[in-house]
């Protein structure tokens, strides 16, 4: 099967799930249910595509196919932030109740954190990118530990609110925020798309990339920033779900067997849509909300991750 055929099939599948999700069991409720479902679909599209894009990019610049951008600690920062707000300001505070305030605050802090981290780490000349990852892991663990510590001290009722934030959920996405997030994601991806062919060359390794005239360090820095903005936006919108990117990125490599990032990213994006919208449809209509999508995703993702690890260790 040619790659264009595969792409069309995937796109068709995504459209089918989209249609099913939007229209199945609507019972003529065009004014009430349809716009609500539309907002959810839009949120899933934004999140899915942003995560697919940032994961593929991140894996290319780190030359590693079992990493996700969550290694940079943005998820942990988000959780810590939510905990700190509720811990110090209480669950009745505007930063908790008002989704818009919460979104802007989370997004701003995550992006500023990422930029400061990169600025600090790239300031002192040439450090290998693995150093950056290591710092990311350590910071992530530190932030995670603080979150747990605060979680222990916090009032149990308040902790329920924190727990809500720990799992990604598309069920209570704010309509206005979706449009705002859409603009951020589209602009960021459009900026990154101009360098999409440079990514093909980056997968040949640093030396070959420089040989072929790609300003390696510059591209890597830009791509890290792009990837962080996308992750921050999707996390602020629905919660931490980056693990999901690992699945779709690797499925896309396996499915398309190419080095071309135009294909890989588009494919991973479409797979995200199929998995998220299809998954959400199953959660809502089959399991009738008895579980959440992120539980299913984490379960399927975990199984797939173990499979990847086993396969990598065999080929090494």
């Amino acid at each position: 099967m040619r790659n264009s055929t595969k792409m069309i099939l995937l796109a068709a599948l995504a459209v089918v799930f989209c249609g099913l999700y939007l229209f199945q069991g609507l019972n003529g409720s065009y004014d009430y249910a349809l716009p609500r479902r539309g907002i959810k679909v839009l949120a899933m599209v934004i999140t899915g595509v942003a995560i697919a894009y940032s994961t593929v990019v991140f894996q290319t610049i780190t030359h590693n196919r079992i990493l996700t951008p969550s290694i940079m600690g943005l998820d942990s920062l988000y959780l810590l932030l939510q905990t700190v707000i509720i811990f110090f300001l209480g669950s009745g505070h505007i930063a908790v109740i008002n989704a818009k305030v919460n979104f802007v605050l989370s997004l701003a802090i995550m992006v500023v954190f990422a930029l400061l981290l990169y600025k600090f780490l790239f300031r002192s000349g040439k450090r290998p990118i693995y150093f950056l990852l290591l710092v990311g892991i350590i910071l992530g663990t530190l932030l995670g530990s603080i979150t747990t510590f605060l979680g222990v001290l916090i009032d149990p009722n308040e902790f329920m609110r924190v727990q809500d934030k720990m799992f990604a959920s598309f069920n209570n996405v704010n309509g206005d925020l979706v449009w705002f997030a859409l603009i951020i994601v589209v602009l960021t991806m459009a900026y990154g798309w101009r360098m999409v062919r440079d990514l093909d060359v980056l997968s040949l390794g640093r030396d070959n990339a420089i040989n072929l005239g790609v300003p390696y360090d510059k591209i890597v820095k830009r791509m890290l920033v792009i990837s962080s903005i996308l992750i921050a936006t999707s996390t602020a919108l629905v919660g931490p779900i980056t693990f999901f990117g690992l699945i779709v990125a690797n499925l896309s490599y396996q499915f398309f067997k190419t080095y071309k990032h135009t294909v890989l990213i588009t494919g991973a994006g479409l797979m995200s849509l199929v998995a998220l919208i299809g998954g959400q449809w199953i959660v809502e209509r089959v399991f009738t909300f008895s579980t959440t999508l992120s539980v299913i995703i984490n379960f399927a993702g975990g199984v797939y991750f173990i499979y990847l690890l086993l396969r990598e260790s065999r080929s090494a």
Binding site: R197, V201, S203, G205, D207, N208, I210, N211, L212
Partner: protein
Amino acid sequence: MIQVKEISKLFGKKAVVDKVSVDIQHGKITSFIGPNGAGKSTLLSMVSRLLDADTGEVLLDSSDVKKLKSNDFAKRVSILKQSNYMNVRLTIRELVSFGRFPYSRGRLNEEDIKMIDQAIDYMNLEEIQHDYLDELSGGQRQRAFIAMVIAQDTEYILLDEPLNNLDMKHSVQIMKILKKLVDELGKTVVIVLHDINFASVYSDRIVALKDGRVVKDGPTHDIINSESLKEIYDMDIPIQEMNSCRICVYFNS
């Protein structure tokens, strides 16, 4: 001409390359030789901007390499390193097509395709051009990478130990091709070599490094003599002349 001026590289406090100045002449094969840890590869990496020099500068036709745009530099100077690990699966043809990236940014036009065909032809890879790199032998792989560099069509071709892990037949094959590139296409080749005899037989000029400094720099016949080799390698190496090739018999010295 590439002029290297007083270039140094420090790793920690140790100068791996210590104020080296070398001129690389146009249309010739220049070999960098010297013992392990002499700084040959580091020097080559700095010339090809894979590494930044701590002091000194590299001039390409008297303009500072650092001020050139990466893409323009890539149309004039290419570098091939010894290890080429990648985590994508490519066919030979796909790899060679990457050689055209500085010109076409990934959108190949007719001229690019012509250059790719030529490069594949030049390295005798037509028959296996659709095979995947990870299914090839070391010699075929190395030829594929050299084909990429040929497709890149640069005046200067820098190679870091291209004969590593190759048997005699493939080593000779590759050296002959490099010689052809210089003689037929007017390229300038700079090559880091471990085997002194390949350097002796194929190069026009030799630059010998030791402890990060240039100890000898000149035409091959001025360098390949027992006296100079003693200075470079601390070994007494007798030289035998056969069919006007000077062979260094270092095996039992």
